[in-house]
């Protein structure tokens, strides 16, 4: 897909910076106090000044507790805890910005789809259509247990449930209120036309929802949909639903494989290549020269909490890495659950020697190190592999976004790789140059009703909205 520019998103979370355990202690990290409203508002304002396309809040509703069977290491390094709910912050960010997209993560485990759909419509109203939703199915068993489940549902079942969850929210967002249902006609005493508001009467395996949707339609109806699954069933889910696929590939080659696969699946679902884009998570270490950048990188890495990395990884893999001997040579290391990662690092020639402790900094996601011009070159390589944009990590801390804005953005803009001004309209229009609402070939639109015939002035509609009562 040919895009006129790359997309840049600021990847953070409502807690301490999360992508490099230990790193936010570094003096350059400049993390904002995550409980402080002004700090977040000022950040959002700066992101908009810098012409970031959006801010992206990751989230998980469980504290990592797999490593050594406790949350101890997570608390020491603030990995996923303490953390706040990002949805309740969004309206404040909307109030100090007018163009910045506002995307946050919410798991299909954590909230009933009827409630959740209402929240997203509310936020899409309040932000004039700038909301994105990163759909996750929740990998943490610790989260599932706090929602009354004995254990996390099996991986594939979570996706089945998530598929039905999507069906419910699509019906609420797209089907329940017709275009033109809201008249606000004081003379006829008709705020909304009952003939154009419909129950959804969803009866499925996991959910039963009668409807109608409580909010009137918001500018985007369905928020821009993000997803990050990389498993077989996750890719299929993304190809079906996602408008933006978030990935953390180790390099352009790995990214190309995933992008090609998901695109092929999406075509199979009748979607167009331009309907979805791919966003790579990335961490920049910017220097005046390559040598300067390398020096900064080495200095930063000294701050990595190796135990924290293991605790984070243990949570994500669901495997306790608590007995990994960090100081053993990698060559001798055999670890259940993480051997694939070790092998792939070794194969990539990045960890021929050294200990697992040395290797931990390699587990913090893709990083691009260099002078601004060099970094821009590297991003072009990613783009050639099919990546449409980047989710810029708050590593080592939120100061990373300011460094990006100051040093990298001007170079990227000069080369035409980054926007200088926002496109008008909703987040979907800004990102895709499309209509405010989903294209007709997206599965959500299968639930859109044909509009009812226009009524004569003064006449009530023939169809009752209730539907349940004759």
């Amino acid at each position: 897909v040919k895009r006129d520019r790359l997309i840049f998103s600021a990847f953070t979370g409502l807690g301490l910076p999360n992508h490099g355990p230990g790193l936010w202690w570094h003096p350059d990290a400049r993390p904002i106090d995550h409980t402080n409203l002004e700090g977040w508002m000022a950040l959002a304002h700066r992101l908009e000044q810098a012409r970031f396309d959006m801010v992206f809040f990751g989230d998980s509703v469980g504290a990592p507790d797999v490593y050594r069977g406790s949350t101890e290491q997570a608390l020491i390094d603030a990995i996923g805890i303490p953390s706040g709910d990002p949805s309740v912050l969004m309206s404040a960010l909307a109030s100090v910005t007018s163009e910045l997209g506002l995307t946050f993560t919410s798991s299909t485990l954590q909230e009933h789809p009827f409630n959740f759909a209402r929240k997203l419509s509310t936020l899409d109203h309040l932000s004039n259509g700038r909301i994105g939703w990163n759909i996750v199915t929740g990998y943490a068993a610790s989260a599932a247990r706090n929602f009354g489940l004995a254990e996390l549902p099996a991986h594939d079942q979570r996706y089945h449930e998530a598929d039905e969850y999507m069906e419910v929210v699509y019906k609420l967002w797209e089907e329940s209120w017709e275009d033109g249902a809201v008249l606000r006609d004081a003379r006829r005493r008709m705020y909304a036309d009952p003939g154009r508001v419909h129950p959804i009467d969803h009866e499925g395996k996991y959910f039963r929802v009668a409807g109608p949707h409580l909010p009137e339609p918001s500018p985007q109806r369905t928020p821009v949909l993000f997803q990050a699954g990389s498993s077989e069933v996750g890719r299929s889910f993304a190809a079906h639903h996602a408008e933006a696929v978030f990935l953390i590939a180790r390099g352009p080659a790995g990214a190309a494989t995933l992008v090609g696969d998901v695109r092929a699946r999406a075509r199979g679902f009748g979607r167009h290549d331009g309907d979805l884009f791919f966003l790579q998570g990335i961490w920049f270490v910017i220097g005046d020269s390559e040598a300067d950048a390398r020096r900064r990188e080495a200095e930063l890495i000294e701050w990595v909490s190796a135990e924290g990395v293991l605790a984070d990884l243990s949570g994500k893999l669901g495997v306790d890495l608590g007995d990994v001997d960090l100081d053993k040579p990698v060559d001798e290391l055999r670890v259940r659950g993480v051997q694939g990662i070790v092998d792939s690092l070794r194969d990539a020639g990045e960890a021929q020697q050294g200990t697992f402790r040395d290797l931990t900094s390699r587990l913090l996601g893709a990083r691009v190190v260099g002078a601004p011009e060099q970094i821009a070159d590297r991003l072009t390589t990613w783009a050639e592999a099919g990546i449409d944009g980047f989710n810029v990590m708050d590593t080592p801390g939120h100061g990373a976004f300011d460094d990006f804005a100051q040093h990298l953005a001007p170079v990227l803009q000069r080369r035409g790789l980054m926007q200088r001004e926002y496109r008008a309209g909703t987040l979907r229009e800004k990102l895709f140059g499309s209509e405010p609402q989903l294209p007709a070939r997206h599965p959500a639109r299968r639930h859109r009703r044909p509009a009812a015939p226009i009524l004569e002035d003064g006449k009530d509609s023939a169809v009752s909205a209730g539907g349940r009562v004759a």
Partner: protein
Amino acid sequence: VSSVEKRIRLHGLRQSTVGHTAVGLWRHPDSQARRYRELDFWLESAQILERGKFDALFIADALGPLEVYQGRVDAALRDGVQTPTDDPLLVISAMAAVTRHLGFAVTVSSTYEQPYQFARKMTTLDHLSEGRIGWNIVTSALDSAARNLGLDQQIPHDERYKIADEFMEVVYKLWEGSWEDDAVVGDVQAGVLIDPVRVHPIEHDGAYFRVPGIALSEPSLQRTPVLYQAGTSTAGKAFAARHAEGVFLSTYRPEMARRMVSDVRELARGMGREPESLKFITMATVIVAATEAEARAKHADYAAYASLEGSLARFSALMQIDLSQLDPDVPLEYVETEGIRGVVERFTRLDSSRRWTPRDIADFVGVSGGGPLIVGSPPQVADELERWMEEADIDGFNICDPVPPATFADFVQYVVPELQRRGRVWTDYEGNTLRESLLAPGHVRVSADHPAAAFRRLPSPAR
């Protein structure tokens, strides 16, 4: 404490919808009710209330469309009566950003939330607002809400309160019992942000909820948000007496309110709580202007827009009785419903002074929404508010906004200065958090005699 000395506590009452307490008035040219989806509308409203030194904005909510009347949602949609309605929680952080002291009491149903993530949301908001969050606990009276959340019908009334009691226990444990006060150590040298020894799993395993983990958020200023409740049934009163710090009343006669106040205070005393620590806030609609004549003209003008059908739709849903099925001119009899029993009682057996027909109810609630309707000059309004304080033994008012935000603005312009002159409201905030506004300066966390306090932990010994 004589009620004469009581400071009048002022809350502003809203819902994120078109037609809330006064139905049909959205059509009035001065009404900005249609802007309920706009951020600026909420920011302006919050600023008006803070200018008037209100304690809080109280945001109501309903989780289902109003479809009892005629068995369908049509009448509600025509007037936008709580349908459509947006989520009340999500606009708060933006309002917190443009105010310093105003509290935000938000309605959330315990019946349809997961306590674990709900607790986290409230803590997040309490952080972001620096301790200005309150929670109006409801158990959801609408069958339509139940049907949207996977149930065939309402959970029976009394069982809803049992679930709510356990819900409270879970969130108290998360707010009060999981993190010790000095758990966040921020030791750069040792590379330790939080001392794990001071963070405890709550290990809750009950009849309705199982929540083993630690709270995800570090404690906020108030820890437990200020708790409001509005239940008027027997189970509801017991619940309020146990948990509420603010009790929201919506009756139209002081002696009816007074009975509620003394009942709930007595119940609270029986549970070991200081009865006067519960603050009673009654809903009131005030139409005020510089002179009585102007105020009366304003009221007549508003009343011309009231919607009879919309009002019946609203009260049908509150009572869970389809008033369209009844003769509009035959007085109502009390019946047991799964709806808000207190509302049914109010128009039947609680009111010995008169009998109410459905038409009477609709006429009466058209502008008032069911609470007292006070129309007059500033001194007349102040007199009437003082009479209510005295006769009902209440602590303040939840002021309605039938023509938003003009009614709020009128109140702040005309009534607040008069009450300030009389020394009945404060001239400036005396604390920073909502609990300090409602109770007393310095009173940031729940009182020692509140059930949430039982879940507090003693500090662990230093390692």
